[in-house]
């Protein structure tokens, strides 16, 4: 199974999510809730698809729905073995 560095994943998500909502990267921290950024379930699927393409992996469709912020999402990926 492929594994990635936590900083690498965090950096990608920060850049992508900031781009997604047209905010500076500084506005997206580990503790910024996805709800605050205005994501809905459709957005979650689109972001998951981009992540899969960027990292050439497959993630569970509920990855975003079951995590409230980037910190818990990265921990989730760590638990699933994608982050070393």
């Amino acid at each position: 199974m492929k594994t990635f560095d936590a900083a690498q994943v965090q950096s990608w998500f920060t850049r992508y999510l900031a781009d997604f909502v047209d905010l500076p990267e500084s506005a997206v921290t580990l503790d910024t809730t996805f709800a605050k950024l205005g994501f809905d379930s459709v957005d979650s699927v689109i972001i998951s698809g981009a992540f899969e393409e960027a990292f050439d992996v497959e993630v569970d469709a509920t990855l975003f729905l079951r995590n409230d912020d980037l910190r818990s999402l990265i921990e989730d990926l760590r638990a699933s073995g994608l982050i070393a």
């Binding site: 997604f20 047209d22 689109i46």
Partner: protein, 578 residues
């Protein structure tokens, strides 16, 4: 020597088709000169590019439409319409080009003339039109809702399409799961009918052939985004115009049974090609509405047109139920005067003159608004809901029929039966013989015990002064109005006893008028799960605290998220989504 006339079309419409034998004829009819309004002075052409149908369309089949029509054939063999779109763009001759990526989309009657007019407002215009779907729910949920081509055909028949193309708004939904008119018209990710001057099409380079997923993936979104971010352009949104997607299985909308799976594939392709986030266009836009009546027409389509007989009948029924003809009111007043004179109390009549004007205003105002001025003075009409609530109920039933929402109509809390008569009247006017109207009531008035919300004193007063109406009286009123029949079903008894076992299978409209906490809660508990997707729930007494408490508690308990709409100062309603 006179110059040769300029026969260059002002506009080219490029339409992509793939296996659309059912849908394309309607689309082309909706683009034809006989349907499009305001195009009399404009030369325009339509180019259909077929993307590999087994039996491609033939231009001669549409000769009767009066279109300047060409049919081209894209033979690259891809499932994506992008190559076909670029082929159509290359063949177009118009100064403006409108691309319709999905040939199953019918146009509203002002789409083309509004696109031309809007494009003249700015030197670099991107003209965007809303994308709607026929049917009450997004078509990608057809496997849940039962939506089909046959249901869609019936919907179009119900609005007598193509008589008035704006009536398509009545039988369509926005693409959001919680549609609103603002969301429909705001520019978002894409437009199915987007119009640009030829120079801008050249500048943006047409559609990106990299998008090769079925239906084109996010190619249309990508085109709109790239166009909208060209320097110095202005996005102009057309108000009151749209395209309307017909149900078929060959577009991006239905290419994947699982809509979320589809999105994921599209997103992967988009990121692979663009290496950036997929997001809507968020730029200030202009809103352009060519004719004042257009938006009004979307909400009141019959205004200005000949009034159909069924509408005249329902208008008269409304007057009768509200007793706005005043004959009975006058009779009551004469009777009162006769009683006073017979009792030798003409002095009271004389005394009453001073305050009569004021009291008359109060009484008329209260009755018009469906308010009870005094529990001992119930109105003489067949309903005390007032005009606004009665008209709202009528529109709900008409919407149920227009949108083919399955199920019966149920009222819990009948009084003299006026609201149920309006439900029955709409069914009669529209010739519906399938649905039943259920009337649940104690026919003894309000219950005297109501737990913590016992309002015995008020209940006794109301019941003694006319709130208790017998089933025989209600039946007689139905008969008098010619509305009695097998479809009118009575459920006499207290709600807690009758509703749980009532033989009602599905409900399209549930109207609750039980005043109390327990009456409201009992009815919701027994019947809410039978209300179908798209069905209406009307709460007549939401202004009464016990009723509102019951509704709020039930909604919280069931996690009901659909927003409530205020009808007037008394009543609320919502529409079930799922």
């Amino acid at each position: 020597m006179s110059a040769a006339p300029d026969l260059t079309p002002v506009l080219t419409v490029v339409v992509i088709s793939f296996e659309m034998a059912r849908e394309l004829p309607r689309t082309l009819l909706s683009l034809s000169p006989g349907y499009q309004q305001g195009m009399e002075g404009h030369l325009y052409e339509v180019i259909v590019v077929d993307n590999g149908s087994a039996t491609p369309p033939v231009a001669a089949d549409f000769a009767g439409l009066g279109l300047d029509l060409r049919v081209l054939h894209c033979t690259t063999g891809t499932r994506s319409p992008v190559d076909a779109l670029n082929m159509g763009l290359a063949a177009s001759r118009g100064g403006l080009v409108c691309c319709m990526i999905d040939g199953a989309r019918m146009a509203s009657p002002g789409l083309l003339s509004a696109s031309i007019a809007a494009s003249r407002l700015h030197p670099r215009p991107i003209v965007f039109s809303a994308s709607m779907m026929l049917g009450h729910h997004p078509q990608w949920r057809a496997h849940e809702t039962g939506y089909s081509a046959a249901v869609e055909d019936a919907l179009l028949d119900s609005i007598r399409w193509p008589e008035d193309g704006y009536r398509l708004f009545e039988v369509s939904n926005g693409q959001s799961s919680a549609p609103s008119e603002l969301r429909w018209y705001a520019p978002g990710h894409e437009s199915n009918a987007v119009t640009l001057p030829r120079a801008l099409w050249d500048e943006v380079g047409g559609y990106d052939p990299g998008f090769q997923t079925a239906g084109g993936g996010f190619s249309s979104c990508d085109l709109f985004s790239r166009s909208a971010h060209l320097p110095g352009v202005q996005v102009i949104v057309l108000g009151g115009e749209a395209t309307f997607h017909q149900f078929h299985g060959k577009s991006a909308s239905t290419a994947h049974r699982d809509g979320l799976d589809q999105l994921r594939v599209f997103s992967q392709e988009y990121f692979r090609l663009r290496n950036c986030a997929f997001k809507p266009v968020r730029k200030p836009f202009w809103f352009f509405q060519m004719r004042n009546q257009v938006l009004q027409k979307t909400t009141n389509p019959t205004k200005g047109a000949a009034i159909p007989p069924e509408q005249r009948y329902l208008d008269l029924l409304e007057q009768r139920l509200l007793n706005s003809g005043a004959r009975e009111v006058e009779a009551h007043l004469r009777a009162l005067v006769a009683v006073l004179r017979a009792e030798g109390r003409a002095d009271l009549l004389k005394q009453s003159r001073a305050g009569r004007a004021y009291q008359l205003r109060r009484v008329i105002g209260a009755e018009q608004q469906g308010l009870l001025l005094d529990p001992t003075l119930l109105p003489s009409a067949l309903t005390m809901t007032g005009r606004r609530r009665l008209q709202y109920l009528r529109r709900c039933v008409e919407t149920v029929l227009n949108q083919a929402i399955p199920g019966d109509l149920v009222e819990c809390g009948i009084w003299r039966g006026g609201s149920a008569m309006m439900m029955a009247g709409v069914l009669v006017a529209r010739g519906d013989q399938e649905r039943k109207v259920w009337l649940a009531d104690s026919f003894e008035g309000l219950p005297r015990q109501d737990g913590d919300y016992d309002t015995t004193a008020q209940v006794d007063l109301l019941n003694a002064n006319g709130l208790a109406v017998t089933e025989a009286t209600v039946r007689a009123s139905f008969t008098e109005l010619g509305l009695m029949g097998d479809s009118i079903c009575f459920l006499p008894g207290w709600f807690c006893d009758t509703l749980p076992s009532a033989p009602i299978e599905r409900i399209a409209l549930l109207r609750l008028d039980g005043d109390h906490y327990s009456s409201t809660m009992d009815a919701l508990t027994a019947l809410y799960h039978k209300v179908v997707s798209g069905g209406f729930i009307i709460i007549d007494d939401y202004a009464l605290q016990p009723c509102a408490d019951a509704v709020n508690a039930f909604r919280e308990m069931r996690g009901i998220q659909e927003p409530m709409e205020r009808i007037d100062q008394m009543a609320m309603a919502w529409r079930k989504h799922v």
